[in-house]
């Protein structure tokens, strides 16, 4: 039986190409992600090797603290320790020759201490010397190259008060292959200068070398007894720890990617299922003959599964190869030059095992139903004349309707509960998404019942205009609804997810834009850099002094608790602005005065609070107060979730600094002049950025567009597999219809018309699949986003342009997928095709 199977496999190998290709892509995606992850991990481990060079023992402070300066002496006193050095590290903005921030995407540079023990330095001196005086500095070689600074030049940094400080460039340093500082400007300073400029008073880590022959583990134990609070590790463990911190960020990235890989594998499963179903239908005669000559049902079943196993193995093998390529491509494309150093590709057992497990499991599981159907072939079928087709028409409708009804019932129930409950927004969203998945399953199950009529409806008008070719195409697409449904399902999945993402992200964008317009009647917003999230208070004062600016309002926020639950406390310096910026759903802004608070209803701490309630607010440094709730606001806050008056806030959080400054130009001042007025102040503070509201809106739009593009790229694999599925179904169907095509050719269908018929069939399948997918995505994109924005109605945006573009693209792609099969069919000689049985 095995020999029969393998012979059959060889004979039909071309027909299985699509299945194998689907598996290759799905597995390649998974393996690629895993290889990427492993390679990145190895690269990160190497990267931290430079920092750990010569280090036998490393001491690190408890989280969010620093080691006192005395640690060096304490450690030096430990027997077996030979040399000790402390490493300081702090943020330090460096300016270029024109006074602008040298940075990597708004990140200012860092300062590190020069160190006193040459062997324990985390860097190499490439030119000049190590800075020792209070106004000396060394820079990393990349930054020197970027800024054009030369040894002996004066370089400018901003101290912690954001005051410019000149330093003399005395050295250029390198970090080997390490990209620990990932494109940031690194300034090396003497310890004195470090403390003076950055205010650092302790070490980020203290490293030591051991006296030759001292066992490192013993040293770790001895150091631990004198430094009980610190974390002490061997040099190797230290290196791994550093790397693992960086790797944990990669893991989140990997998880997201794997979700999309799973989607690609599900789509592959549909393609494989369809291929095997069609192959079994075409082989009814052959299977029946096997049964005639004595094959048991079990043997037929095993034979089909064996065939799928071989396909799965081959696909997985090729997929693994593809994955290695993809993984390394992803690694060099995304990582190197950005957050990752270069590294040779790393292949562990994990991707290999995953590739073969997934490849074989998906293929075999998808072939089970066709295999079961194959066993039902009666031996008599071998003797029957006529075209050999296994009738899917025997399938009872109830077999589809009952499970679809169940899935749909569960899905609709979950969606309704999620949409109407007003508990935790995250949990509600999860309910709606789960409901969406169940409903989608229901749609997939019943799709054999509706794709036929839907295709007919879609083809009715073109059929009238373009005549027989289109009418034949509609008839062909309808003749086997199960097959068409399974083919279109793949596109439904891909485009459903794509349009759900598009609708929800567009709604987020439209809502954010609407909020800005309605509640932010300002022209400019001054915001701090990401890493130094405050603005010197003097900025607002100086802006207020500018004649061209009509209104300047500071926004301050702080962490606090309301009745024991965490909340972000906020305040606006201008009461008029505050009233305008807070669109109350209940209560009245007129009541907003000292002693009162306005809550954002979406904040967890605000749950169950009503106007008239009294809440107690306390801060981490012990200030507390009791306030009367005078209003509730829906929406997402830009100013904290519990808003106090400026005076109350100052009383509760005396140390607060500005988070942002809102500016409105004076009446009659044109945009060029008002912008110049703002920048005349902010130019002195390289760490703050000025954005006009128009720019802000553009930035939101851009980030949403980027996200949509990323989702699209990740779904591309699934959509490509779906298109392979269309090509495959069509090729195999055309094979089945060889004689029929010849008959129509004999009766007067030109080659062009035959091609048009097949292309139209592909187009119809493509359009039906994507139309259902897009409709579903539209519904659930909207439902999901409604729940995410708890408590207020989002501005629902239905991006007609992109959605119609998806539909058109899917149609075009489906037609392209059919070009090759259609060409083959049109080329066939009529006489020989008629003779085929």
């Amino acid at each position: 039986m095995i020999r029969t199977t393998l012979a059959g496999l060889r004979a039909h190998k071309l027909r299985l190409v699509a299945s194998a290709l689907a598996i290759v892509l799905g597995v390649g995606f998974v393996a690629g992600i895993l290889v990427f992850n492993d390679t990145a991990k190895a690269a990160l481990l190497d990267e931290f090797a430079r920092a750990a060079k010569n280090v036998d023992l490393a001491v690190q402070p408890p989280p969010d603290t620093e080691l006192p300066l005395s640690t060096v002496d304490t450690l030096r006193a430990v027997p077996g320790v030979s040399a000790v050095d402390g490493r300081m590290r702090a943020e330090l903005p460096l300016l270029d020759r024109r006074g602008r921030l040298v940075g990597n995407g708004g990140e200012p540079g860092v300062a590190i201490s020069a160190g006193t023990v040459p062997a324990l330095r985390g860097y190499d001196v490439q030119a000049g010397q190590v800075p020792s005086g209070p106004t000396e500095a060394a820079l990393d070689a990349d930054t020197v190259a970027r800024t054009g600074y030369r040894l002996g030049d004066t370089v400018t940094v901003l101290d912690r008060q954001q005051v410019r400080q000149p330093l003399t460039l005395v050295g250029i340093v390198g970090f080997g292959t390490s990209k620990q500082f990932a494109g940031q400007a690194v300034v090396v300073l003497s310890p004195d200068a470090m403390t003076r400029l950055t205010g650092v008073t302790g070490y980020r880590e203290v490293v030591a070398t051991a006296v030759a022959g001292t066992p490192v583990t013993a040293l770790v134990a001895r150091a631990g007894s004198v430094l009980p609070a610190a974390r002490i590790s061997t040099g190797d463990a230290y290196r791994d720890d550093l790397a693992n911190d960086a790797i944990s960020q990669l893991t989140a990235f990997r998880t997201v990617l794997l979700v999309f890989a799973v989607i690609a594998c599900v789509v592959s499963a549909f393609v494989i299922y369809n291929t095997f179903t069609i192959l079994m239908a075409q082989r009814v005669r052959e299977l029946a003959l096997l049964r005639c000559v004595g094959a048991r049902r079990g043997q037929i079943f095993t034979s089909v599964l064996l065939e799928s196993t071989v396909v799965g193995l081959i696909g997985a093998g090729l997929g693994l190869g593809l994955g290695i390529g993809v993984g390394y491509g992803l690694f060099s494309g995304v990582g190197v030059g950005g957050p990752l150093p270069s590294h040779a590709v790393v292949l562990t057992a994990v991707p290999i095992v995953a590739a073969f497990t997934i490849g074989v499991l998906v293929t075999v599981a998808s072939a089970v139903i066709p295999a079961v159907r194959a066993t039902r072939v009666s031996p008599l079928a071998a003797l029957r004349a006529g075209p050999s087709t296994m009738g899917p028409r025997t399938r009872r409708r109830m077999l589809l309707i009952v499970p679809a009804g169940l899935a749909g019932g569960v899905g609709t129930g979950l969606s309704i509960v999620g949409s109407t409950a007003h508990g935790d927004a995250e949990f509600d969203t999860l309910l709606v998404v789960a409901g969406g998945l169940a409903n989608f399953l229901a749609v997939l199950i019943v799709s054999p019942l509706f794709v036929g009529p839907f295709t007919a409806a879609l083809g009715a008008l073109p059929g009238r205009w373009f005549g027989s070719p289109v009418r034949l195409a509609v008839a062909n697409a309808r003749r086997n609804p199960g097959r068409t449904a399974a083919t279109t399902a793949t596109l439904m999945i891909g485009l459903g997810l794509m349009s759900a993402a598009t609708v929800s992200l567009s709604t987020v964008r439209a809502t954010a834009s609407d909020q800005l317009t309605q509640h932010y009647p300002f022209d400019y917003v001054v915001t701090p850099s990401r890493s130094t999230p405050t603005i010197p208070t003097v900025v607002a004062e100086r802006l207020r002094a500018q004649p061209g600016l009509g209104l300047v309002a500071e926004v301050r926020t702080s962490k606090a608790t309301v009745d024991g639950r965490d909340i972000v406390l906020g305040s606006l310096s201008d009461a008029t602005v505050a009233r305008q910026a807070l669109p109350l759903t209940t209560g009245s802004v007129q009541d907003f005065r000292s002693g009162s608070v306005i809550l954002y209803a979406s904040a967890p701490a605000a749950q169950g609070k009503h106007v008239g309630d009294t809440v107690s607010v306390s801060t981490s440094d012990g200030h507390r107060g009791t306030y009367l709730v005078v209003g509730l606001v829906a929406g997402r806050s830009q100013t904290g979730d519990a808003v106090l008056t400026w005076e109350d806030f100052a009383h509760l959080v005396p140390a607060a600094v500005d988070d942002s400054v809102l500016i409105r130009a004076a009446g009659g001042v044109n945009p060029v002049d008002s912008r110049a007025a703002v920048e005349s102040v902010t130019d002195d503070y390289p760490l703050v950025t000025v954005q006009s509201l128009a720019e802000w809106r553009a930035q939101i739009t851009q980030s949403v567009d980027t996200l949509i593009a990323v989702v699209g790229a990740l779904l591309a694999v699934a959509i490509i597999i779906a298109l392979i599925g269309i090509m495959n179904t069509l090729s195999l169907s055309i094979l089945e219809r060889t004689r029929e095509s010849a008959l129509t050719r004999a009766l007067g269908l030109t080659r062009g018309q035959l091609r048009a018929t097949l292309l139209a069939e592909a187009l119809l399948m493509g359009l039906v699949g994507s139309a259902v997918g897009i409709a579903f995505g539209l519904l659930y994109g909207w439902a999901t986003v409604r729940v995410i924005f708890t408590g207020f109605a989002p501005v629902v945006s239905i991006p007609v342009g992109p959605l119609s573009a998806y539909l058109a693209a899917a149609g075009v792609a489906a037609v392209l997928a059919a070009v090759l099969p259609a060409r083959t069919a049109a080329r066939a000689s009529i006489v020989s095709a008629m003779a085929e049985s």
Binding site: G467, S468, L472, T744, L747, G748, I830
Partner: protein, 248 residues
């Protein structure tokens, strides 16, 4: 009652036709310089043993297959050398087909199958002629059935209606009764013969059944790709005798 047309007018003509399959050692000479004149308004049967080239002759004469050398004309139009598109159009407009099996598209109803060649041409059938044909062939109450819901005889009658509807220069029938029981077969042959006698249709039929050939006005006999005999106004017995001579 016979409408005999002038012998000079032809429904289809083949001259010095040669058809070679394959090349070199494996080359098979299916037609070896054959010349036949299929008279207009005549019912011609092509007979011969298996492998004699009768189906190849029909395929070449109908423009379904290319020829190695020689010429083929449908009516007065030479078709050798025509492009595939022109050939297809010619088949659609001027030739009708009835095949042994697999004659109808399974996805189309009887009516749609009958009208398919005209649909492909973008023309509407002459309504009187259409109704007349349906009455004649007894298909009026089967029009909305799919082929799978029709008997073999009914399917072949639908195929006949399809071939007759466009009043082609010539209808080629390839073993039209091969898959039918004798009663249904006789009914189909009656239709073909009546369409020649009463409607003036020209028909060329390939068959290996002497009693089917007896319905024809003329039988031509083929062996090894050559024309080896001809009978006018054949009877089944005379055809059988002629075939026996060939076999001897």
């Amino acid at each position: 009652m016979r409408t005999v047309s002038a012998p000079t007018r032809a429904a289809a003509t083949v001259t010095d036709l040669v058809k070679v399959y394959g090349a070199g050692d494996t080359a098979v000479r299916a037609l070896d310089g054959i010349s036949v004149h299929f008279g207009a308004g005549q019912f011609t049967a092509i007979m011969g043993p298996s492998g004699s080239g009768k189906s190849t002759l029909m395929h070449c004469a109908a423009g379904l297959d290319t020829v190695t050398s020689g010429t083929v004309s449908i009516g007065d139009t030479p078709i050798t050398g025509l492009s595939d598109k022109a050939l297809t159009r010619l088949r659609r407009d001027r030739v009708g087909f009835v095949f042994q099996s697999f004659n109808l598209l399974p996805t189309l109803t009887a009516a749609q199958n009958i009208r398919l060649p005209l649909d492909l041409a973008g023309r509407a059938p002459d309504p009187d002629w259409y109704r007349h044909l349906l009455d004649l062939l007894g298909l009026t109450d089967r029009l909305h059935h799919l082929p799978a819901q029709l008997s073999g005889g009914q399917q072949q009658r639908v195929a006949c209606a399809r071939a007759l509807l466009s009043r082609p220069d010539v209808i080629f029938a390839d073993e039209p009764t091969g898959n039918l029981d004798s009663r249904s077969g006789a009914a189909v042959l009656d239709i073909l013969r009546n369409s020649v006698r009463e409607l003036g249709q020209s028909i060329v039929m390939v068959t290996h059944d002497p009693s089917a050939a007896a319905y024809a006005d003329r039988v031509i006999l083929l062996a090894d790709g050559r024309l080896v005999g001809e009978l006018a106004d054949p009877t089944a017995d005379r055809v059988l005798d002629a075939l026996r001579e060939l076999g001897a």
